[in-house]
Amino acid sequence: MIEVLAPLPVLLPLLGAAGALLVSGHPTFQRTLSVTVLSAVLAVSVVLLLVADAEGASSVSVGGWPVPLGIVLVVDRLSALMLVVASTVALGVLVFAVGQGAADGSEETPLSIFHPTFLVLVAGVGNAFLAGDLFNLYVGFEILLMASYVLLTLGGTAARIRGGITYVVVSLTSSLVFLAAIGLVYAATGTVNMAQLAVRLGELPEGTQVLLQSMLLIAFGIKAAVFPLSAWLPDSYPTAPAPVTAVFAGLLTKVGVYAIIRTQTLLFPGGALDDVLMWAALATMLIGILGAVAQSDLRRMLSFTLVSHIGYMVFGIALGTAAGLAGAVFYVAHHIAIQTTLFLVAGLVERQGGTTSVNRLGGMARRSPLLAVLFFVPAMNLAGIPPLSGFIGKLGLLQAGVAEGSAAAFTLVAGGVVTSLLTLLAVARVWTRAFWRSPSQAPAEDTAAAAAAAAAATLRPRATGDGAASSDGEASPDGGARTALQEAWRRHTAVATATEPDLPPAAGAVRALRPLPGTMVGATAALVTLTVALTGLAGPLYGLADRAATDLVDRTPYVSSVFGTEEVP
């Protein structure tokens, strides 16, 4: 049965994407198709998880090629669990996006492109989780990155292009580092099959091992946004449409974390770079959360907490013990759900309040109590208030750190507690300002993004003067060209910064109360319920994470699932 099911999380979304592209003229049919496909992926993933948990790891050779030659898909507890969580939040985000598209029309998010691209993204994520060889992992990354480029720059507004450029260039660099690392791994071992690598990499000289390991960790560290490779994330995420940011925040960085887990456990189990990872985790946690405290834009604040909490997972991985890995796996599952939910809530807040600037918002709790609850529960969960799942995940990691007992581990434990407190501070600031105070107390001061949006309207008429400016340049080539150039640059920065005091206060127009579409609220509420349910199901889930971590430390389940009982060549 597993032979049939394992390729489906990749195949179904890809075929669904093709179908969705074909029927792009019929929005209703397209929406139904993509929601159906993702539901099917979720069902398949759940079955895979049940099978993997009952019978242990298993593998499928795609196309029936003999094992070290062909492409192998491996389903073990970790990858199946990741698949289930990922497809759940992807489905939630898709329903949210459908609701948004139905309410807005196709102006902000061109649906005919959104649905196929979203499905391709899910296929890439699934492929990355299932990949049994390094090159297939690379292909999975490229599929999801390509889709994410398109999603991030959807609509092609100036802000999205600016944020998208950073993201694209950084992602390209990480892909090239990864590809070069694959080349070197192949040169050193003669294989890219991960199960075979698990045996062969250990036979290499120590220096070669450290070089290969650090190249892979750098490539995955960029994707997972581990400090000091994290600066791109808060720059590029907040500009995208709400559903896109939500799914990116939930899934893309976690694919990087998943790849780091595989690198540290399966490929290089010696723990050679654990100390480096420890300090990187500490810096990620603290610097990320200090950034979050400083922000006054809700989405940027959430982006910084996203970076910060990656540190917890890296901490668990760096411990290298089964307890640490179990904590990390549980935290990944928890964090995918929670971060996606919070970004969706931020999208709802933006609809309701007209802005995500915490300084401008006010009185949201009175205006929309439901929205307030939808924000409050996951926000407290993120900060780690007992008894929610964030608390359980953090507690597990801290216990693992104390059990490990080294000085570095205790420093990390202290850092984790401080980060948790500062997270509480950051979300509490949002709560008291955006939700709790009365609207009259909200000053008119603004974030650059909101100001740029207001300024764009006033600056747009000048854009029609382009032709005139350039013909001036031809008339007097000495000064004219420079003037035209400066004029263009002035327009660009004016749209971006928009700090001129004479701009009309757009507060009245922006503050207009828009009703929240039921589908969007429903999808968000479902995900909030899921995050609360994670608390109730924490026992079984943590048990599963424990078993997955034991498999990871043991390594033989993964290797023998690919090669069976025979000797690894």
């Binding site: 480029y149 398109v150 507004t157 600016r162 694209v168 590809l179 907040p238």
Partner: protein, 163 residues
């Protein structure tokens, strides 16, 4: 097999030039840098195939004499991916040019704004008059102010103004 010096030198040169171009603010140079880096990586993959040999076609030559086919398959995949991404980056450059007559990598304005914000003064905090720290926030250190410095600072593409 005698080791060849040509491939490592080529790879190193391409990597150096690629990284240099990638660090530029102009997007066209970034794209060129990416293409160079991609080619360098492809050459690196090619060199992992070991000693050169005959074409790896079944029945064409002895298995002992053929070159390792796997790196070539990997390179083919990588070339396709590089091609697709380059096309996308070109589209972004075009879009950026259409929008702002500019194809330099922009600054994160909100980041600048947060960095330039004045720290709150405890004496000014008044419970009746909430959040003075926010209200007194400074403007972004506006780029438009020192436009001349900026035009020199940001590496605008040569000749782009006289089109």
């Amino acid at each position: 097999m005698t080791p060849t010096i040509v491939l490592p030198v080529m790879i190193g040169g391409l990597y150096a030039a690629g990284v240099y171009l990638l660090l530029d603010r102009s997007l066209t140079r970034v794209l060129l840098g990416f293409v160079l880096l991609g080619n360098a990586t492809n050459l690196l993959l090619l060199s992992t195939g070991g000693p050169s040999g005959l074409a790896p076609i079944l029945g064409y030559s002895d298995p002992e004499e053929i070159n390792d086919p796997l790196p070539q398959a990997l390179i083919l995949t990588a070339i396709v991916i590089t091609f697709g991404v380059s096309a996308f980056v070109l589209a972004i450059i075009h879009r950026s040019w259409r929008l702002a007559r500019n194809e330099a990598v922009g600054t994160d304005e909100e980041d600048r704004r947060v960095a330039a914000r004045r720290a709150p003064d405890a004496d000014e905090l008044d419970p009746d008059d909430l959040d003075p720290d926010d209200r007194a926030a400074g403007h972004a250190d506006s780029l438009a102010g020192d436009l001349d410095d900026l035009a020199d600072d940001v590496d605008l593409p040569a000749g782009s103004g006289s089109r």
